[in-house]
């Protein structure tokens, strides 16, 4: 099966600005997406608008990542490309002082595969905001 990979208009300058190894690896990833679809993506994410949109992250080189939006008719849109700035530092100023919440700041466990259904459990946005506030800036 062949997939069509395009880029979101506002992500296009980011793709064009890629250089060196990051650029080569980006195109390797696009090539895999064209042939394998979501199997080439890495982890499923909740859509930022709360919709059921099929959104995934893909790590393609070092701390470089891209976001993917899967549409109908085997279309895949690269919606973002960039270097991930989240250090996932477990030694957080303060959060490790709360033993029950020692996971805050650690890499997430068991990221759902890109082809899987997303976690649909209702989420308390206030607590999500608190978790991110408890992390380092």
């Amino acid at each position: 099966m062949k997939y069509t990979v395009t880029v979101a208009a506002r992500a296009s300058p980011r793709v064009k600005a890629l250089r060196g190894k990051a650029k080569d690896k980006f195109w390797d990833a696009v090539n895999r997406l064209e042939h394998e679809g979501c199997a080439a993506g890495h982890y499923r994410m909740r859509a930022p608008d709360g919709s059921d949109a099929h959104v995934c992250g893909l790590r393609f080189y070092a701390d470089w990542r891209m976001h993917l939006v899967f549409g109908e008719n085997n279309e895949i849109v690269v919606s973002w490309v960039g270097q991930h700035t989240d250090k996932e530092n477990p030694h957080i100023d303060g959060a490790t002082d709360v033993p029950e919440m020692a996971d805050i700041g650690r890499p997430r466990k068991d990221q759902p595969p890109c082809c899987d259904e997303p976690d649909k459990a209702p989420i308390d946005q206030r607590l999500v905001d608190r978790i991110n506030a408890l992390r380092p800036a």
């Binding site: 793709v15 976001h67 849109v77 973002w80 068991d110 976690d119 607590l127 999500v128 800036a137």
Partner: protein
């Protein structure tokens, strides 16, 4: 404490006593809605009585963390600071944080719910990166371009 503050405190306790008594009656009579309404009254009474500020040591006890943690959270804006030396904190922001920490601790006791919450927080951070939401909006709107290797 001034005489005026003493009078306000005494009046607050009387209101509290009354509403708690009415809550007990409502629960004994099985009128849950009435009990909830009385509990709301109780919350208002407590809010009216609460002090404006709290010391770091008291806040640390209330939050179940160390004083350095409280100071670190204050520096990062999670708790409002009223005075620097000696540091005193806005009571209301400590109460808000305490409530959220309690709920986070409850959630953390369920591995599945906790991991779900952590994953949602991580996803939110991913989309907080510069341009991520804009690109997502373009993708949904079909505002896309072909990928061409230069």
């Amino acid at each position: 404490m001034t005489k005026r503050e003493q009078r306000a405190l005494a009046a607050g306790f009387i209101t509290l006593e009354d509403t708690l008594h009415r809550t007990e009656d409502a629960l004994a009579n099985g009128t849950v809605e009435q009990a909830l309404s009385e509990l709301q009254e109780t919350q208002h009474a407590i809010a009216a009585m609460q002090p404006a500020e709290i010391a770091v040591a008291q806040a640390a006890t209330a939050l179940g963390v160390s004083e350095p943690t409280v100071r670190a959270w204050a520096r990062r804006g999670l708790i409002d600071v009223i005075r620097e030396r000696p540091m005193t904190l806005a009571f209301g922001t400590v109460v808000d944080l305490r409530r959220d920490l309690q709920r986070l601790r409850e959630t953390a006791s369920s591995e599945k719910r906790w991991q779900s919450l952590l994953a949602a927080a991580a996803d939110q951070r991913e989309f907080a990166q510069d341009g991520a939401r804009e690109g997502f909006a373009d993708a949904l709107a079909g505002n896309t371009e072909p990928l061409t290797r230069a």
